[in-house]
Amino acid sequence: MIRSLETAAAWLLAILWVLPLAYAFWTAFHPPEFATRFHLFAPLTLQNFVNAWDAAPFARYFVNTVLLVSLILATQLVLVTLAAYAFASYEFFGRDVMFALVLVQLMIMPDVLIVENYRTMAALDLTDTIPAIALPYMASAFGIFLLRQTFKTIPRELDEAARVEGAGSLRVLWEVYVPLARPVYIAYALVSVSYHWNNFLWPLIITNSVGSRPLTVGLQVFSSTDQGIDWSIITAATLMTSGPLLVAFLLFQRQFVQSFMRAGIK
């Protein structure tokens, strides 16, 4: 009895949870006159997507976002790997202090330091560029922490065996540590890509033109100025910008969930 009540409650909550999305799908795939009216046989259309695509430079925004996300991920992977390796397998003066200083970023994220980081970017003459969006996020405390924990679980003997055979520091890292941490890299990459694909406030502040705006900012500019209240087109644009991530998520649901789980266990 209680079990079936629970099942019903779980389903009710799930339906509430997908309702806003289902609503957006309905509006985006039907002609504007059905945007807020529900008929089982309302005609389906892709016209809203066409209109949205034509109304703003979304192709450019997509390119910008892909560039941004790749730039951040590529740099993060390199920097985070090197730093985590240093913390996990070297003893150097000031290591613990440095580690504590790295962890500061878990609390004070670049997201809240917008005023000073803008000042820095202006001083470096980088405002309104894609690297300016990426720079504050390139050294990721979360990534360093995650990988350091992983590297620490790798048996010392493997490391020493490789060194006895004459491998240098970087070769040991590349041939022993990195391959063994592959699942953690995948988890970290998924978390990073979805975070930066979705990031908004800092890109909004630092970008100013079509040439550097990522999708999130482009969507905001589009829906606040160009469209008035044409909800059909706005929801189509909304689904379009989150589309690739949503499709990737639906296809690789299990990996996504497991990656987020892995990233969460410290």
Partner: protein, 294 residues
């Protein structure tokens, strides 16, 4: 092999250097520069910034909008944190057990997490729209209640944003609980069943205490998020009406990038940094010691 040799020292530092340099430039320096600039006036026109001591802080204390925004943020935190954590735990317990349609449930709960806040805010904006929106169609057309401008009324706007945030976050926190639940050995449950313990008793005395480290982790994340996430405000309300839905970071954005008063924005940022710093100290100093049994 002596790892503490000079070579290990140099290698360690070289490996760390690139990440440390970027962290110093974009985390440590700006945090300190915020403090420094909060003692100066904003440069205006040809006039350079001048040392003004505590004037910015005095101005802040006398700024009614600051207090309003801080109050909003505390309400926002109080509204989002407990509910999203409780829901996350409930969801995790459900999808961890044997429930009909588990795959769909997990998908439904988690999907909001992967979508951009900016995009879902657009969807929710439409949802709340007077007359046309789904909510009004339900309350007015179906229930016959009077029409209400949910986002345009001071008394309801913050609650509307709280709902959106809970919806967005609960599934994310669920994942951490799910991971923790799967790490609990099933033998504990079997032992409890043999002893005749009910499910609620088992949850209260075994599962929940074992989940405490996860709860702490999720709690800290939820606190940070409640002061960090303002994307939906930009889309849905721009802090209005009359600052009723403005949060601290949104106000910093307004002051810093619409009024271009960078000194006052720095002063406000100091408050935000103090809140985040206190959270960190509480986590490491107090809570962590009480919760870890290992």
């Amino acid at each position: 092999m002596n790892r503490a040799s000079a070579q290990a020292q140099i290698h360690g530092w070289l490996l760390l250097l690139p990440a440390a340099a970027l962290l110093a430039l974009f985390t440590h320096y700006p945090a300190l520069a915020t403090l420094w600039h909060s003692f100066y006036s904003s440069p205006k026109g040809g006039r350079p910034a001048l040392w003004v001591g505590l004037d910015n802080y005095r101005g802040m204390v006398e700024d009614p909008v600051f207090w309003q925004v801080l109050g909003n943020n505390l309400w926002f935190a109080a509204g989002t944190i407990p509910v999203s954590i409780a829901l996350a735990l409930l969801m995790a317990v459900w999808v961890n057990g044997k429930i009909a349609g588990r795959g769909f449930l997990r998908l439904a709960y988690f999907t909001p997490t992967v979508l951009p806040m900016i995009a879902v805010a657009n969807i929710w904006l439409f949802f709340y729209t007077p007359t046309y929106g789904l909510l009004e169609q339900f309350t007015v057309d179906l229930l016959g209640l009077p029409s209400h401008n949910w986002l345009g009324t001071k008394s309801t706007v913050l609650a509307c944003l709280i709902v959106v945030t809970i919806w967005k976050e609960a599934g994310f926190f669920m994942i951490f609980y799910l991971a923790a639940l799967q790490a609990i050995p099933p033998s504990l449950g079997e032992a409890a069943a043999i002893e005749g313990a009910g499910r609620w008793y088992y949850f209260r005395r075994v599962t929940f205490p074992l989940l405490m480290p996860t709860t702490l982790f999720v709690l800290v994340n939820a606190v940070i998020n409640s002061f960090r996430l303002v994307d939906h405000i930009v889309v849905m309300t721009r802090g209005g009406p009359d600052n009723a839905s403005s949060l601290l970071l949104y106000y910093i954005y307004d002051v810093g990038f619409k009024f271009w008063d960078s000194a006052y924005a720095s002063t406000l940022t100091m408050v935000l940094l103090a809140i985040l710093g206190t959270t960190a100290l509480l986590q490491f100093g107090f809570l962590e010691r009480r919760i870890h049994y290992r």
